[in-house]
Symmetry: C2
Subunit: 337 residues, 2 copies
DNA sequence: TTGTATGCGTTATCAA
DNA sequence: TTGATAACGCATACAA
């Protein structure tokens, strides 16, 4: 019941193993007769090259790894990841690459990296200096970063977090809001991971608010989940001085906040304006629709995958220009009355 | 810049390669002195066993594959898959297994299977007789099915689709509805994939409706996306005889239908009752909340992963009893007036 | 056009 | 307690 090997095929087709290998990898080298004979017996026997043997020999795995800073059960709770995977997956398919998920192993990303049969890695939210990335460097694995502080020399795919956040802030400022709250990306999540984009977005919010001569926003730690948004609403509404507008760094938190607000009898946008960040599909499905900063999530995935594959081909790759963000106006924001 | 091998470590530690291997795999065999020396030099050199070499030798890969009937960009558009992955991922982590995504390669799942370095496979929505599954059998790879017609001898994880659908139908019947429409899982998606559960759910709906002496439901092909739900609403509302209750086989379609209904000025539940299937997180977030048949999606993933891993350990595994479904009452259903 | 010989990096067997 | 040696299955110079 053991796997059919190249030798089995060779024997059955009365040729050498080399010939069988040629039939698959360099068909032109073979006469049509033998080639067809070999291939047909291979098919008949159900032969496929053993992936490990193949990669041991070729020094290639034909797969890339997605390094996730948290366990899969946590990571996939965030729809953001699904969308990113759609982008990465599309490019992988184009290049006959498979995708290996690489979450921390016993809490350690480094050891997980060492055991992953991949030609390169896309890392989500890890910043330079992370031990896992140093491990990658030691193994000579090319890698691309998404949503990270760009260390020099490592290609990083980012969006214009600062500009996007500024768009959101200016929007509510123009609507007359003066008491503004910000909901962050969470403090429990890998701090370093969130540090980069969280800090950039916060700076964008603050810059615009400051430029308008409006009091600095209160900042709730928040998170990237619906539940975090609910909690954020509770925190904000417990305060003496309630905001009239909320700028959330994630759509999920914004949606959770909207739901909590509705349950508390707070009308949106009449009593409270809400702006999200991401433009997940469900932002448009909410009622009212969520005004949000769109970032091209799937495109981030595609770019990262493309860069990595180019890098595997030996090309020198550079960080692309931060992708554009865009304010999507829907019903969750309104004029301060 | 090439990878540090076991030989490098052996040389540096003045021992044989075997000893280095022992240090990692059978530490007890070694004297404390040599073990620590070897391990420390290994760490110093940044050594990690080459995954392919290791699996070639051990005949194990330490990973399982998730066979998806469609490209990743399609599959991950469905939140159902994210939740399933949370369950699978949790069990994988417990057993130090990594997860390889195995979508069709050039449209062919069979060839993708042959190239996947995995010890076993979880297949999503593929029914017995599928060529990809036969390929698995040829390679001697253990596999577990999710949401499939259970062929004899292959462990399959299913929920009680029939019973769940019956619950949904009886619910709207009790509310007095007599004009009922059903929204399916889509006809374009891999037909065979959807055939099993789609047919079972349809039978559940029909059985209950028939038992109540109520006219048979109209059936819209539907799908598993928000857009499919919108389309389904249009189809239904175009008809002369509009339903007062809709039974959707997926929450996504139900939510899309609800949104389309609202946009068309159709009130839910006053004008139209809607029941979904799945109980995705966002079913609770919708407004009104979506009454739906809950199925334990993550648990399906966990069970499948557990069964597969047991199977890898040589145990004989059997299809578990279909998991229970449960009707979750929310605001999207009301009495027929 | 096809075959021989060798290496890829590791683990397992057996001997010392 | 350690080491020598033989697989593991394939690809690829090189030879024929």
């Amino acid at each position: 019941m053991s796997r059919v090997t190249i030798q089995d095929v060779a024997k059955a087709a009365r040729v050498s193993a080399t010939t069988v290998s040629f039939a698959f990898n360099q068909p032109e080298q073979l006469s049509v007769a033998t080639r067809t004979r070999v291939l047909s017996t291979a098919r008949r026997l159900g032969y496929a090259p053993h992936p490990s043997a193949r990669s041991l020999s070729t020094k290639r795995h034909g797969s890339i790894g997605l390094l996730t800073p948290q366990p899969l059960e946590v990571v996939f709770a965030n729809p953001f990841v699904s969308e990113l995977l759609q982008g990465i997956g599309a490019v992988c398919a184009q290049h006959d690459m498979t995708l290996l998920l690489v979450p921390p192993l016993n809490g350690s990303l480094e050891s997980a990296v060492g055991r992953a049969p991949v030609d390169g890695v896309i890392s989500l939210g890890l910043n330079a200096g992370d031990p896992a990335l140093e491990t990658l460097a030691r193994f000579g694995l090319p890698w691309i970063l998404i949503d990270a502080e760009a260390p020099s020399g490592v290609a990083t795919v980012n969006v214009d977090d600062f500009g996007g956040a500024a768009l959101a802030a200016r929007h509510v400022l123009e609507l007359g809001h003066r008491r503004i709250a910000v909901i962050g990306l969470g403090r429990t999540s890998p701090q370093r991971a969130q540090l980069g984009i969280g800090a950039r977005r916060l700076a964008g919010y603050r810059g615009a608010i400051d430029a308008a001569g409006v009091p600095a926003p209160t900042v709730d730690p928040g998170g990237v989940t619906f539940a975090a948004g609910i909690q954020a609403f509770r925190n904000l509404w417990r305060a003496r001085r309630k905001p009239t507008a909320v700028l959330a760094m994630s759509d999920m938190a914004a949606l959770g906040l909207m739901a909590a607000a509705r349950d508390a009898g707070v009308r949106i946008p009449e009593d409270l304006s809400v702006v999200g960040f991401d433009d997940l599909p469900m932002a448009a499905w909410a009622h009212p629709g969520l005004t949000t900063v769109r970032q091209p999530i799937a495109e981030k995935g595609r770019q990262a995958a493309r860069l990595l594959i180019e890098s595997l081909a030996g090309k020198a790759v550079h960080s692309p220009k931060p992708l554009r963000t865009e304010l999507i106006l829907r019903g969750s924001t309104g004029r301060q009355t």
